[in-house]
Symmetry: D2
Subunit: 107 residues, 4 copies
């Protein structure tokens, strides 16, 4: 089963600057060979369910190992059986709708 | 690694009434022998990380098998290395803070 | 417009124990006269959209005033135009589905 | 109060293809004059708290007006009092951490 995920991990008890921990999670995703893209409030991830979930677990393990005593993660998980769709397909689909309607509006 | 999770699964393409699908997820959690508690916008779950995650995957599989072509899940995941804490402990902790302050205010 | 919300506010830069801040948010909701119910990973809130949102903003203001330099909140917002539904109705709806199926299974 | 938000709105009861509704929300954000950036599982938004929240409400109103009887939104809200930070700053901060550590590793 393929999944589109959005991962937002928040380490607690390590102060307000969490960039070092997020960067480590990017490395975990990279090592896992997953497709991912950082945005300003999380990271989009695409891949096989089990591999994505193994990477999320590894992120928690690594961030704890770095010294964070507590973590609160918000994870979105999208699956579909009707058709294959990449992360970029989802963005393109919205863009097409925007362009299509704008065209109609100018006609 | 133990985890506190909050699962909110939304089936798409099956109309506005999603109670049947949520009920099926409760059965999955029950079969998995996990501690869980339904609230009005999701379900608190407590247990070993791998067992909780296996149950979440099974929820997606079952809800797809029931006919939902698309699912979007929002999952919160809390882990901590500093101390053990149950779901009820978290609620009790806030209640104690509330009662403590109220007491001080009336003194 | 009426909304069902689920509020999970995380103060950063104040250590691992966040119960005091969550308790303060319960007071804000109480002062606002909103229906709410604490669970182990957030708080269900029910009420008029503008009043709920004003309370969420006030939670951020108060928690910052208590000394938290950074807050990350996860908020779910459910609205519907087809029918009125209370927080308890949502829970009851799932419970009925569970009981209904269990009854069929024992027949 | 300035906020960094991440908006993921899911219309229910309108089938599996939701791109048209998401595109309409992009227009709402555009009309509101807010900074925003679509990603594959939501939209980053940056701006004054009240203006961002007014736009989120307008998204719900518009999507209902387009025919969706039910909406479930997941909204992240980040505020901080210690310093100003743009959406791009957050991404740059993680990138710097990644580059910095990689450099150290190759040394």
């Amino acid at each position: 089963m393929k999944v589109h995920a959005d991962l937002c991990l928040i380490p607690l008890g390590v102060g307000v600057s969490v960039g070092t921990y997020i960067a480590e999670c990017q490395r975990v995703l990279d090592e896992a060979g997953l497709e991912y893209r950082l945005h300003a409030y999380g990271t989009n991830i695409e891949g096989d369910w089990d591999r994505v979930m193994a990477a999320v677990k590894r992120c928690h393990e690594r961030v704890h190992a770095m010294g964070a005593p507590r973590i609160s993660t918000s994870l979105k998980l999208g699956t579909r059986t009707d058709r294959a769709q990449s992360l970029q397909d989802k963005i393109d689909s919205v863009q097409r709708k925007l362009n299509g309607n704008n065209k109609q509006e100018t006609v």
